[in-house]
Subunit: 404 residues, 2 copies
């Protein structure tokens, strides 16, 4: 083994141990394991010798596979028909959750003295919803099949489609390129066409696909084929500008309709258990708040911006939960589930920095919001569900979460 | 998702699909799946757009994890006591399998007109044994628990220890550094100490380790902890210059003695099924034989060298199988199992090129031998086992290999 591979192996081992320890401590404090994994990552990131791990392609990629498979598993655990049933409230939650942060974020940035372009970009960044964290918390709390979970995930998919629209417009305007309506509509059409094709045709094709793998020989054919299918839809989704996790979720949803759903889940589960914590720990490791240090005078405007953005980011998504009012579901839990900006927010921020719309300081403020929304969601969601259970909202009481 | 991650995801998908298809075709032709995976990799490597995949850190690392876990699983499937019982023949097989190729390889290279240093290096390279391929073929043929498998794997572990000695001496002499006997003995002592500690103390500690994970909460704790343990011993082994797969094998052997062996295997198996084929396909993708093109006159000496080395590489390891003569095991199958030089040979060759002992042309010849020994082993081993079964050598007839 070459020394570079040895080094990455050591990074991976340390990240896995830290994530496992952090998850364990979180569970002992009655918090979702994912919160402990993120905080363990924050702690690892403070060690200068380990921090470079997050810049290693192999670590980034393994983390990506972890979160792709997590959403694939969430899809496998879902029923397409139920998603169609929750389509209307999910769409309403998504639309409110895009318009409110966009408008209020834009207005506040203008009031703080930022230019129209920057303000538009900041508002756009706040519209993102990343369900990686929420999906994991729901899984930790054994709520993946609840009504709330269905609406949150449905809304996140719609949000991702709307996000393509917002991003195209914001980056188009911000970078001075005239927005080409045709181009925007094309990418929007492609995304919707991909999801439609994947779900409608995929669901009909799935039995044949599974039947095909049944005729193959060799060990673990089903799990390997399902893994390939999940990665393939994640990749195809990313080609039409959807988040890879949305494509993976669609793949899971397609296979959920087959007879081999349980077997596929059994094969994919250990891979998720091993790799998903790497994703959440590396999210934590990316925290670098030196540029928001309040004792440095040059940081203060960005610290102010960060706090204002956070103050907008949380309530606007909470209000989006009202889109599910009247349903037999906890609308506050839905709103909380929409809070994390996660890696969708990070992609937004990186893009803004790359095309030169925002400065390093503003970038730092956005990263702060992304991480803060990510870290506050697990305990809030846990609290919200335990509160709704106490107040007697109908909820199936599930056995203590331990499947292995 | 960034475009670089998208690109790697596409590479991984293509490698997985090719490996699955190749494995499937091989099985239809009654050959071990691994042969099809390697040949599928050779085919992929001919496509200029896909070939760069093998230089991507993420792909290299995922392949490495695949082969590490494969040997970890082989260890899990073994019994330490049985290895102690087969220790004597295994050691004899290993010693013959190191001395013969070293002496004959050295002598032949001298006769071909190479310098003492180069000849010593070429002989040293031929001593390597890589059990990655053999372990996989045995698994494909459902022979992982046979007497032959135990002797081959035991011999490969001893070979790896002897390899440290040979490599230290050869590189020390070859690069003009006076061989420091103390240094060589130290690294040899460290490798033996590591294996002893890992196996003897590890086996006693294992029940406590497993008991510790039983007190942990959260999903998949056992599989995750076992995975970490496997990677950790692979890493520690590489620190004392053992191949990572030897450390991983030791980790599996340690956990094989625990009550949770079956559960651990169930958790690790899907990860092996998904990632190990990536290793074998990328081995095939590295084939680049342009420098051995017989129509180019400057290639001809290297082509001659490659053929001579191959002609030495195969029979010398076959003869090593005689070390197991008198045992209730097929000595030819054992000899064949020792043939592949695999990644241990590749590491030897890379090192020789780096320290400047060998030229690009000689490097190409070594790569040819490594690949040729890798490709011929699966069909030979399969043939050998089917022959010994027909001739009535005692062999448990196992059910057709399909576990999922």
């Amino acid at each position: 083994m070459h020394s570079n591979e040895s080094q990455i192996l050591l990074y991976l081992i340390l990240i896995l141990i830290a994530a496992r320890a952090g998850g364990e401590i979180a569970v002992r404090f009655r918090q979702p394991a994912v919160l402990g994994e993120i905080l363990a990552g924050v702690a690892l990131g403070l060690i200068p010798a380990i921090r470079p791990a997050v810049d290693q392609q192999a670590i980034i990629f393994i983390a990506e596979i972890g979160v792709i498979l997590l959403l694939f598993e969430v899809g496998l655990d879902s029923k397409f028909d139920e998603f169609k049933r929750t389509g209307a409230p999910a769409a309403l939650v998504a639309i409110i959750g895009v318009i409110l942060p966009l408008v209020i974020g834009f207005g506040s940035a203008i009031l703080l003295g930022y230019s129209t372009n920057v303000a538009l970009f900041l508002g756009g960044t706040l519209t993102a919803t990343s369900i990686g964290i929420t999906a994991r918390v729901l899984s930790d709390l054994n709520r993946s099949k609840s009504e709330e979970a269905k609406i949150i995930i449905g809304a996140a998919v719609v949000d991702d489609i709307l996000g393509i629209l917002v991003l195209s417009v914001v980056v188009g305007v911000g970078s001075g390129i005239a927005v080409r309506l045709g181009g925007v509509l094309l990418s929007l059409g492609l995304a919707i066409a991909f999801l439609t094709l994947a779900l409608v045709i995929g669901t009909r094709m799935a039995p044949f696909l599974v039947g095909f793998t049944r005729r193959m020989k060799g060990r673990g054919v089903l799990a390997v084929s399902a893994f390939i299918f999940g990665l393939l839809l994640a990749y195809l989704g990313s080609l039409v500008n959807l988040a890879a996790i949305v494509g993976a979720f669609a793949a899971g949803l397609v296979l959920a309709s087959t007879d081999d759903r349980v077997k596929i889940t059994e094969g994919i589960q250990p891979v998720v258990d091993i790799f998903a914590p790497v994703f959440f720990a590396t999210v934590g490791m990316r925290v670098d708040l030196t540029y928001l240090n309040p004792t440095r005078s040059e940081s203060q405007p960005f610290l102010l911006l960060a706090l204002v953005l956070l103050f907008i980011a949380v309530p606007t998504k909470l209000l989006a939960g009202l889109g599910a009012a009247g349903r037999r579901a906890d609308k506050w839990a839905i709103g909380i589930g929409m809070i994390p900006r996660g890696e969708v927010g990070l992609i937004f921020a990186s893009l803004g920095r790359t095309v030169g719309i925002i400065s390093e300081g503003i970038y730092g403020s956005i990263i702060f919001v992304v991480l803060a929304t990510t870290i506050i969601t697990p305990p809030l969601l846990k609290y919200s569900f335990s509160r709704s259970r106490r107040s007697g909202t109908p909820q199936k009481r599930l056995p203590h979460h331990r499947r292995d």
